[in-house]
C-alpha cells in the first residue's frame, strides 16, 4: 500500500495510485501562521489593512463591508493615500505555534502546508468593493496595476518570512476567480493583470522549496486553466462540476490536478443526508476517475459546517476505492 504522499504523487502524475486520494488527507495544514487574518464569528471588526468585516451570527462566513464610506479605497486613483501594507510579524514568538506545528508534521506521509489568504484578486475587491474593483480594471488600469504590484510585493515579503521560518512543502492559497458559472474577468484581462502577479508569487515559493502549489477557487475557472498552469499551480482545489471536470482532466491532467467535484452547498448543509452524499461521491469518482483528480468538497479548508460530513465523505471515497481499484 502506498503512503498517503506516494498515492497523491501517483495521482498527480497519472501513474498508479492504489486508491483515491481522500480530500485534504495529504496536507497537514499549518493554520497557526500569523497572517493577521481573523475569523470573528458574530462580530464586526477592522483587519490589518483597514478593511471592515462582518460575520453575523447564523452565517457560514464573513463579508467585507463597503457601504457608508467604509471601503478602504474610495477612489482608485488615490489608493496610495489609504492603503498601507501591514507590518509582517517576524518575531520568533509570533511564529512559535506555527513552527511547532511544522516540526510536528509527519513529512513521510503528509505535506507540511502553509495557508495564505486572501489572494491578489480578492484583495482588490476587499479594499474597494467588487463592482468598483472590476470597473477600475477598465477605467483606471494604470492605478489598478500599481495596486496589484503593491499587493504582490506584500505577498512576496510575507512569503519570504514564511519560507524562512517554516520551510513548508506545500501552500494552500486562496483567491476566488469566478462565480459558479463564469470567471469574474475575461481570460485576456486575467492574463494582463493577475497572471504576472501569480507567476512571481508561485515562482518564489517553488524556488524556495515549496513542492506543491494548491490554489483554491471554488468556482468556474475552466477558461483560466492554461494560466493556472503557466503560473505554476499544481492542484486547483475547489473545481466545480460547472467546469466539465472530465474534459479538463483529459485536456490538462498531465500538467495540473483537479481537486473538488463535491459542491459543499449540496453535501454540507444542516440536515445533510447520507444517501445524498454517497450518491455525489459515487458520481464524482466515477465521472472523473483517479488520475489527475482528487474527490473533495469545494470548500477551501478541511473544515465542515455541519458535523460528520467530512468523515462520511471519506468513508464513501473508501468505498469507491474498493469498487474501482
Amino acid at each position: 500500500m502506498l503512503t498517503i504522499r506516494e498515492n497523491l504523487l501517483e495521482t498527480m502524475k497519472g501513474g498508479n495510485p492504489d486508491r483515491f486520494v481522500k480530500q485534504y488527507e495529504f496536507i497537514d495544514l499549518i493554520m497557526e501562521v500569523p497572517l493577521g487574518v481573523e475569523f470573528n464569528y458574530g462580530q464586526t471588526w477592522k483587519d490589518h489593512w483597514g478593511i471592515t468585516w462582518q460575520w453575523p451570527e447564523g452565517q457560514l462566513g464573513m463579508f467585507p463591508v463597503h457601504h457608508d464610506g467604509l471601503a478602504v479605497i474610495q477612489d482608485i486613483t488615490e489608493w496610495k493615500k489609504t492603503v498601507t501594507k501591514p507590518v509582517i510579524e517576524t518575531s520568533d514568538e509570533a511564529w512559535a505555534p506555527a513552527l511547532a506545528h511544522a516540526n510536528a508534521v509527519d513529512r513521510k506521509e503528509k505535506f507540511a502546508t502553509v495557508f495564505y489568504a486572501p489572494g491578489i484578486f480578492e484583495m482588490t475587491h476587499h479594499l474597494m468593493g467588487m463592482e468598483n474593483a472590476l470597473m477600475a480594471l477598465y477605467e483606471e488600469p494604470e492605478a489598478m496595476q500599481e495596486l496589484i504590484d503593491y499587493l504582490t510585493e506584500y505577498e512576496l515579503e510575507f512569503a519570504a518570512v514564511m519560507v524562512d521560518k517554516l520551510h513548508p512543502e506545500a501552500i494552500l492559497h486562496h483567491d476566488d476567480w469566478g462565480s459558479q458559472i463564469s470567471s469574474f474577468v475575461s481570460p485576456d484581462m486575467f492574463e494582463e493583470f493577475f497572471l504576472p502577479a501569480y507567476k512571481k508569487i508561485y515562482k518564489f515559493y517553488k524556488d524556495n522549496g515549496v513542492e506543491l502549489i494548491i490554489h483554491h477557487s471554488d468556482s468556474y475557472a475552466a477558461n483560466l486553466v492554461p494560466y493556472m498552469i503557466e503560473a505554476g499551480i499544481d492542484i486547483w482545489q475547489g473545481v466545480m462540476n460547472t467546469n466539465n471536470i472530465p474534459e479538463l482532466v483529459e485536456k490538462y491532467g498531465e500538467k495540473i490536478t483537479f481537486m473538488g467535484g463535491l459542491h459543499s452547498g449540496t453535501v454540507d448543509y444542516p440536515s445533510w443526508e447520507k444517501d445524498v452524499v454517497k450518491k455525489q461521491v459515487e458520481e464524482t469518482c466515477k465521472a472523473n476517475g483517479h488520475k489527475y483528480f482528487i474527490p473533495c468538497q469545494t470548500s477551501g479548508l478541511p473544515i465542515e459546517n455541519f458535523e460528520g460530513v467530512i468523515d462520511y465523505i471519506d468513508e464513501c471515497i473508501d468505498e469507491m476505492s474498493k469498487e474501482l481499484f
Binding site: M130, M135, Y138, F184, Y269
Partner: protein
C-alpha cells in the same frame, strides 16, 4: 453612422465618458429621447445576451451599465414627467440570512437598464420587508428575490410565499447560484433567471404574461 447608432455602440462597449456627449448630439440632431432610450435598452439587451453566452464578463457588463446610466442622465430632464418609458417598479433584495450582494447588484443594474424603476432593499431582507416595500412604493409590478446559499433557500421560499399571500397577483422572480427552474416552480415563483444577463428579458416576459 447615425447619432443613435453611435450611442448604441458606446453603451455596448462601455464608453461611459463619451456617452453623454453622444446622447446630446443625437438630441441636437433631432432624434427623439424615447428612441435614444430604446436604443440604449436594446444595447443592454445585447450586453446581457453576450454575458449569458460567456462572450463577455462582469467588468464589461458593469461598464456598459454605467455608460447607459450616463446617457440616461442626459435624457432625464428631456423626458421629465413622461412615465411611458418606465416598465414599472421592481423591488429587489437578497433574502433573509444571506449577505451576498454581487449577483443581486448586477441584476439591479440590468433591470434598471431594461427600464424598471429599481428599489434595492439590500441584503438579508426578511419576507415582511419585501411586502412592506410593495406597499410603500408606487406602481410595483415585480419583486426579485436573490439567494446564494443552499442554507437560505428556505428563506427564498418564505419570501415568495409571503409576498404571494399578501399580494396574490404580484409577479415574483427568483435567482441565485443554488436556484433552479424546478425550485422556482416548486416555491411558486413566476420566473427564474440563471444569470444577470438573462434577468432583464425574463423580467420583462413575466410582467407581460
Amino acid at each position: 453612422m447615425s447619432k443613435i447608432e453611435d450611442v448604441k455602440v458606446l453603451v455596448e462597449t462601455g464608453k461611459s465618458k463619451k456617452v453623454a456627449a453622444a446622447v446630446q448630439e443625437a438630441l441636437d440632431a433631432g432624434d427623439k429621447a424615447q428612441d435614444i432610450l430604446d436604443a440604449m435598452i436594446a444595447s443592454m439587451g445585447v450586453v446581457g445576451d453576450k454575458f449569458s453566452a460567456g462572450e463577455i464578463f462582469v467588468p464589461e457588463m458593469l461598464i456598459a451599465a454605467k455608460a447607459m446610466s450616463k446617457g440616461v442622465e442626459v435624457l432625464k430632464p428631456v423626458m421629465a414627467g413622461d412615465g411611458s418609458s418606465s416598465l414599472g417598479t421592481c423591488i429587489m433584495g437578497t433574502v433573509a440570512g444571506d449577505l451576498h450582494d454581487i449577483g443581486k447588484n448586477l441584476v439591479v443594474m440590468m433591470l434598471e437598464s431594461a427600464g424598471f424603476d429599481m428599489v434595492d432593499l439590500g441584503v438579508d431582507v426578511s419576507a415582511d420587508k419585501f411586502v412592506d416595500a410593495v406597499k410603500e412604493n408606487n406602481n410595483v409590478v415585480l419583486v426579485a428575490c436573490s439567494g446564494l446559499l443552499t442554507t437560505t433557500m428556505p428563506a427564498l421560499k418564505e419570501a415568495v410565499q409571503t409576498i404571494k399571500a399578501a399580494y396574490p397577483g404580484m409577479k415574483v422572480i427568483v435567482g441565485g447560484a443554488p436556484v433552479t427552474q424546478e425550485y422556482a416552480n416548486e416555491i411558486g415563483a413566476d420566473g427564474y433567471a440563471p444569470d444577470a444577463g438573462s434577468s432583464a428579458s425574463k423580467a420583462k416576459e413575466i410582467i407581460c404574461a
